[in-house]
């Protein structure tokens, strides 16, 4: 924890090395979060970079109030995703890329087939926004229920309940997708 405090303090002094460390430490989690919510790789890369730029612009406003720095980053990422959807409401949940890939996929059986990230992304799109966020955050960087609750502004009990419903729905959709392609 102290290490994170020192890193943030250096980042607030605009040390390039500090921002480099932040980038290396949190990039994978933020990218995975954005990708599973957006579904497009290039766009996800751009938005991920945007998250760190926004973090740099607002780093002076950050202070540790019992919330880890990663929670603050994920909140920025969530806001950017919401802004993206607001800017492009006409787009369907599936990108053109995903639709094209879906037509080419030919898994053998429902459960034996290797689910690609496209299939998972399609399944995730069937969930509600809260359910998506809970599932993605829980499995992205191994965030705890408390951390997810802090990011989403919910209680731990609510996060657990959302997780159950989300995984149950996700499992059902994945099973249906597998049966449909079988």
């Amino acid at each position: 924890m102290q290490e994170e405090h020192d890193l943030v303090r250096r980042a607030q002094e605009y040390e390039p090395e500090a921002f480099g460390e932040i980038y290396e430490r949190y990039y994978n989690g933020v990218y995975r979060y954005i990708y599973y919510r957006i579904g497009e790789q290039v766009l996800s890369e751009d938005l991920t970079m945007e998250v760190f730029v926004k973090a740099m612009e607002a780093i002076d406003t950050f202070s540790f109030r019992g919330v880890p720095f990663s929670a603050w980053l994920y909140r920025i990422a969530s806001n950017l995703v919401v802004d993206h959807f607001r800017r492009q409401p006409s787009q369907s949940a599936f990108s053109l890329e995903e639709k094209l890939v879906a037509t080419l996929e030919q898994p053998t059986t429902a459960l034996e087939s290797e689910f690609t990230h496209h299939a998972l992304r399609r399944a995730l799109s069937e969930l509600t926004d809260d359910q998506q966020q809970v599932v993605i955050l829980k499995f992205v960087d191994g965030l705890s229920n408390l951390e997810v609750a802090q990011i989403l502004g919910k209680t731990e009990g609510a996060v657990k309940s959302l997780q159950h419903r989300a995984l149950a729905s996700l499992g059902r959709v994945l099973g249906e997708q597998g049966e449909a392609t079988a």
Partner: protein, 536 residues
């Protein structure tokens, strides 16, 4: 008293509750059927909204059961997620989890196993470089946004704070063996953070110590150097003025800081030992001053003397072995005073209890052979002040590294070039002979007036090295090491002839060197002044 219609309504409701049909009930009251029908319909609606207690309990029980089952599923899901993340085989999880959670297991498994398409390394490298450039640009913009004087002030503040913190850390490390380490380290951190806070306030943002100074780069170097020189010059003026201060005075800390810096700047082991001995003598002199002025001696001063007296005290040796009888008497008085004020001195300060016992034993042994001319204690006068040849606010005794020539040439003149130790200084004269002349005169006069120390020739003199040696004394050859008081012959036999101090070798002058006792009074052999070429 209910009206007849109300009584009929009650009867109808009772029959409806028993399961009778509404029309059958109304058929018994044809004349009131219309009114009763509306009332019975309303009653039926109310029953739907508020079921009878039995039905309420049943439905509540069902609801609670559903909630509990959901809660169990939620907790079971959390357990499945934990097991999946921990790497438990999926087959094993599915064997013991409820069938309702099979889909949860599947979903959790794929959430863990499926990886998104990752960006290329080139893309990540480009993003990282861009981020660093942006950070550097923002940092530069922030610096340039500050007014010039503020930038200079912040840079100097940070540079000086780094300098001070670094110096204090080194001093703290050097003094770690003296028990100062932990306290000094904490002080360094506090000083560093204090300066960092200053930089933060000046910078208008959350900055740390050293950040702006470093970033100002070359522009701050000459300015910082000039400020450092000014600081050192100021120190060289302040430290001499602080040289005669005692604990409790504002400049005492500066004096100690100067001593610490001088000790730090002395690299030769022998010179370090000599310097330690001089510093121990100073501590003893300060005790004498405080006692003479009727002030309490702080325990830290005694502790400091114990730790610096040649290192032998700290190692469990005999730190008082080289003391004169008067010095020992002073120490005994100090220790007794401390013990009287707050019992348990031996527990608080390591070695103090044993030292007091030993000193008292020496006193007891030496009382029987006390000089007939008496010493200070015998005459009832304050031994510490007079016998120590003390005059407050005197110039300090020069220490190794100062200009030794004038000190060594003490023989002829009545004046002496008194050197004041300064921070890192060596051989610089900060006090002229003329300034010290009156002081020396006072020193010279004091011994004859004070019957206490004059007769026995016991050069209890200047254990702290503060008093300047008076002129007119017979010069002593460098390297001669008469025992303190041995020349007068009045040294009580019980006094321990001081052996050579540790590390000083045979024939070296004793570490606690007394000032010249003035006109020879049975003291044909005066100890050499300190620093007068006594290096072995």
């Amino acid at each position: 008293m209910k009206r007849p219609l109300e009584q009929k309504l009650d009867a109808c409701l009772a029959r409806l509750a028993g399961g009778t049909d509404v029309e059958d009930v109304l058929a018994e009251y044809p004349e009131d059927a219309d009114e009763l029908r509306a009332a019975l319909a309303a009653s039926a609606r109310m029953r739907e909204l508020a079921p009878p207690p039995l039905q309420r309990r049943e439905r509540k029980g069902k609801l609670l059961a559903i909630v509990a089952a959901h809660r169990r599923l939620v907790e079971a899901t959390e357990g499945v997620v934990v097991e999946i993340k921990a790497g438990v085989p999926v087959g094993e999880i599915e064997r013991h989890c409820p069938s309702a959670l099979r889909s949860v297991v599947t979903a959790a498994r794929y959430m863990c196993e499926v990886e998104p398409p990752w960006p290329s390394d080139e893309r990540r490298r480009q993003d990282l470089e861009r981020l660093r450039r942006l950070a550097a640009r923002r940092r530069q913009a922030r610096i340039e946004a500050l007014p010039l004087r503020l930038r200079i002030a912040v840079g100097l503040d940070v540079c000086l704070s780094q300098l001070v913190c670094a110096a204090r850390r080194v001093v703290a490390e050097r003094n770690a063996d003296q028990g100062y380490g932990s306290r000094r380290a904490e002080y360094d951190q506090a000083a560093g953070s204090a300066f960092g806070a200053t930089a933060t306030r000046a910078g208008g943002g959350s900055t740390g110590a050293g950040s702006y100074g470093l970033r100002l780069g070359v522009a701050a170097v000459p300015i910082a150097a000039a400020m450092t020189i000014a600081l050192l010059a100021t120190a060289r003026m302040v430290v001499p003025a602080a040289a005669s201060s005692v604990p409790g005075e504002p400049l005492y800390q500066i004096k100690r800081l100067g001593e610490s810096a001088q000790l730090f700047m002395t690299f030769d082991p022998q010179q370090r030992e000599d310097l330690r001995a001089q510093l121990a003598a100073r501590r003893l002199g300060e005790m004498g001053l405080l006692r003479a002025e009727g002030l309490p001696v702080p325990e830290r001063l005694l502790e400091s003397w114990l730790l610096t007296s040649g290192g032998a005290g700290a190692a469990g040796g005999e730190p008082y072995a080289d003391l004169t009888s008067e010095q020992r008497r002073l120490l005994a008085d100090v220790l007794r005073g401390m013990e009287a004020n707050e019992p348990g001195l031996g527990r608080r300060i390591a070695g103090a209890g044993d030292l007091l016992v030993r000193l008292e034993q020496d006193e007891t042994a030496g009382a029987a052979v006390a000089s007939p001319e008496g010493d200070g204690a015998a005459d009832g006068q304050e031994p510490a002040s007079a016998d120590l040849r003390w005059s407050p606010r005197q110039q300090p005794r020069p220490l190794p590294g100062d200009d030794l020539g004038a000190v060594a040439g003490r023989s002829g003149g009545g004046e002496e070039q008194v050197e004041n130790p300064s921070v890192g200084g060596a051989g610089e004269h900060t006090a002229s002979a003329g300034d010290s002349g009156d002081v020396l005169g006072a020193v010279q006069v004091a011994p004859p007036d004070a019957a206490a120390g004059g007769g026995d020739g016991d050069p209890a003199g200047d254990p702290g090295g503060q008093a300047a040696s008076a002129g007119g004394s017979e010069p002593s050859e460098p390297g001669a090491s008469p025992a303190p008081g041995s020349g007068s012959g009045s040294e009580p036999p019980g006094a321990i002839a001081p052996p050579s101090a540790p590390g000083m070798g045979g024939g070296d002058p004793p570490p606690f060197v007394q000032p010249d006792p003035g006109p020879p009074q049975g003291s044909p052999e005066d100890p050499p002044p300190p620093g007068s070429g006594e290096a072995p």
